[in-house]
Subunit: 256 residues, 2 copies
C-alpha cells in the first residue's frame, strides 16, 4: 500500500507544476540513489506519467540542481540515480514581514513567495488579523513547509525559506524589527502613500537587500504605520487601486 502522509493540499489539482523533483537527504538509500513513495511519486505517476529511463530535473533541499534517471517505478515507489551539477538561482534579497493572512490565502501566498525566491518570511499580528487565524492548522511547521516545497518545485529552486511567527505586534516592532531589517532598505506597503514602490532590473546582480512590510486586507492602522516609520520604514504605494494581499505581495516582490 502506498504510504501517503495526509496533508491539506489537493496537490494534484491546484496550479502547481512540479518542474523540479525536490529530494531530501533522507530519500537517499545509497550514494546517488534515491527512493520516493509519497505525493511526489503520485505526481510522477499521474501527471508526468514517468516511465523507467525517464530523466527528470532533480534538486537537493538546500543543495544543488541536477538530473535523475528513473531506474524503477511502480505502484509503491520510484528509484532514481541522480547527479547534481549546478547551483540554485540566487535568492531574491527581500525579507518579507507579512500580516498573517486568512488561512486559505496564507497557503497560496506562502507558496507564491517561495516561487518568487524570498528566503525569509516573518508572519506578524496586527489589529486587523483575526485571532482565529493564529489557531489555524495551516500554520503548523509541516503545512508551511509543504507550501514552501511546492513553491520551490514550481520555481526550480532548492533553498528552503524560513518562516517565523510573531503573534505580538508591539514586541516585534519594538524589539525585533530593527535587527531583522539592519543594513537593508526598508519599506511598508500603504495604499495612498506618496512614494511609489521602487523597482530594479529583475536580472541585475548585487541588488540591495530590502525588508518589505505588507499589511492585512484593509491595511495597517495609522498606529502600526507610525511604528514602522519609527524604525525607518518608508511608506510606499503601488497606485490608486486597493489590491488584495495575494496580488499586492506578488506585485511588490516582482519589482526587485
Amino acid at each position: 500500500m502506498l504510504s501517503i502522509k495526509p496533508i491539506h493540499t489537493n496537490y494534484l489539482n491546484a496550479d502547481h507544476s512540479m518542474n523540479l523533483l525536490l529530494l531530501s537527504p533522507s530519500d537517499f538509500y545509497h550514494q546517488n540513489r534515491a527512493r520516493i513513495d509519497d505525493r511526489r511519486l503520485l505526481h510522477l505517476q499521474n501527471i508526468l506519467k514517468t516511465a523507467p529511463e525517464s530523466i527528470l530535473k532533480v534538486g537537493l533541499i538546500d543543495g544543488q540542481i541536477g538530473s535523475g534517471t528513473v531506474l524503477k517505478i511502480d505502484a509503491t515507489m520510484a528509484e532514481l540515480e541522480v547527479s547534481f551539477e549546478r547551483d540554485p538561482p540566487p535568492a531574491l534579497p527581500v525579507t518579507l514581514v507579512l500580516a498573517l493572512p486568512r488561512p486559505k490565502a496564507l497557503r497560496r501566498i506562502i507558496r507564491n513567495v517561495a516561487v518568487l525566491g524570498v528566503k525569509r518570511i516573518h508572519l506578524i499580528n496586527v489589529w486587523k488579523v483575526e485571532k482565529s487565524y493564529w489557531q489555524s492548522p495551516l500554520l503548523s511547521p509541516d503545512n508551511i513547509r509543504e507550501q514552501l516545497t511546492l513553491g520551490l518545485e514550481q520555481a526550480v529552486d532548492t533553498v528552503m525559506p524560513q518562516v517565523s511567527l510573531h503573534p505580538l505586534f508591539k514586541p516585534f516592532v519594538e524589539d525585533e524589527l530593527n535587527d531583522i531589517s539592519k543594513n537593508t532598505l526598508t519599506y511598508v506597503a500603504h495604499p495612498g502613500a506618496d512614494n511609489p514602490a521602487p523597482s530594479t532590473n529583475p536580472q541585475a546582480d548585487n541588488k540591495p537587500p530590502v525588508t518589505l512590510a505588507v499589511g492585512p486586507e484593509g491595511g495597517f492602522t495609522p498606529y502600526e504605520i507610525e511604528k514602522f516609520e519609527e524604525v525607518g520604514f518608508l511608506p510606499i504605494s503601488l497606485g490608486p487601486r486597493i489590491l488584495n494581499v495575494e496580488v499586492a505581495v506578488s506585485a511588490l516582490l516582482c519589482r526587485y
Copy 2:
C-alpha cells in the same frame, strides 16, 4: 425568499473584499435610489453587517464613484440613496493577451487582472492549452463578468474590462494581433529571454500603452514565440525562476 442567481464563486469566503458596492443602471428604481437583493445584499448583511443609515462607498458600472446611504435593509433587500462625485482611477494601459489558463486558475486570474486595472483581455489558444479548458462553464460571459465585477469591487474601480476569446492561434496572431497591438509597446513573457521586463513608476501619468502576451504553464512553444516576434513582440523575462501563470501575470502587470 431571497432570490440568488446560482454562481460558481463562494464569494462570502474567498479573498475578496467588497470595498465598493458596484451598481448597474438596472438596480435603480428611481433617480438616485437603488435596490439590491443578490449576493451584494448577502455581503452587506453577513460581512459588513450593514445597518440603516450606514454610508457605503458605491460606484456605477462604467460610471463614477460616490457614496450611498442605506435607507432600509432587511432579509430580502436593501435600498440606498446614492450620489456620485468622482471618476474611477485611470486604467492600467496594458492589453493582456493570455493563453487560456485551467478553469480554476482562470477565475482568480481574471479577478486579479481586473483588480490591477487592465481593461482589455484576449484569451487565446496555444499548444499547451488543453482543449477541455475551452469547454469550461467558467468561460461563460456571466461567469467572466462575475469575476471582473469582484475585481472592480476589490480595487474600488467601475470600468468594466472586456474579455475576448480566441480559440484559434494562427488566425489570431496572423490576422488580429497587429491591430490589437497597434501603437503600443509589445512584449511576450518568455522564461530565459535576455531582455528584462521593463517597469515604470506606478503613479506616473501618461504611461505608454503596452500589449503583453503571457503563455500557459510550461510556456509558449518556440513556434509561438516566433509568431509573436514576427509581429514585433519583444521576449522578456522576470528572472531565473519559473513562475506559475497567476504570479507571473501579477508580477508583469505591476511593473507598469
